[in-house]
Assembly symmetry: C2
Amino acid sequence: MEKPNEKGQCWLDPVSVTPRVGSIYPAPFGAPLAGREKRALGDALKLTQFGVNLVTLAPGSWSFQRHWHAKEDEFIYVLQGEVTLVTNAGQKTLTAGMAAGFPAGKADGHHLINQSDKPALYLEVGTRAVSEEAHCSDIDMIARKEGGRFVFTHKNGDPYP
Amino acid sequence: MEKPNEKGQCWLDPVSVTPRVGSIYPAPFGAPLAGREKRALGDALKLTQFGVNLVTLAPGSWSFQRHWHAKEDEFIYVLQGEVTLVTNAGQKTLTAGMAAGFPAGKADGHHLINQSDKPALYLEVGTRAVSEEAHCSDIDMIARKEGGRFVFTHKNGDPYP
């Protein structure tokens, strides 16, 4: 199949984008994300100012560890199925056609869990700041982005192995 | 109906967001956009770094005059129906589930036209640069954003009334 942008093409069918499965979190924090498949549509279309991922979440899987971003806005839009949004306010079921947004610097961690028995599909959009800190709410971890790469540390700054 | 963010709520159902109909282009350039309804989901969710709009395009309607952005990346994802993407390369039909992206500074104007007999629904995402120039491809107009407001001029800089 022809890849997007091989000829400067500005459109794509997401089936042409190879999904990334699972997580880059240090063990054991990636385990709940094992059923997550992510297609980087924005990257495939040569966008650099924000990322756009098409995400499939298998039943039982999480989107991320619950977190909030210091510098980057984040947005999600549910396309198929349903997901449970978890924040400090508790749980809220989001069905296809519903949206959520998380302004940079708002210290209320969020993530999505598929508590249904069918796959869920959603779009996630996030700004691409030069540096970033994502603070986890329920575990002792901060993800720091430096020079485009993520480094995972304890909250006291000690690195994970 | 409860409005999003009245209680710091981070999610919404788009039916709660009042749509904006039509265009702010100077006459007669807004006429082809009369069948466009736009719900500003990102604004409703207090996002400031990028905009996210849910757009309904009636049969025959255009998304915009064909244009390209000097500083802002743009992304679209088709949710329902189909739209015709027009660029320098010609026309391409995008059906539900397909995406397109327009990197800042790429001087290839684009817009969407609903050439079908059913409404089309899509998401559009665009960076929020402090200043911006959107260059129109097929008409003598540039849209300049200054201090958050758009000003429309001829390509020689003369303002439209």
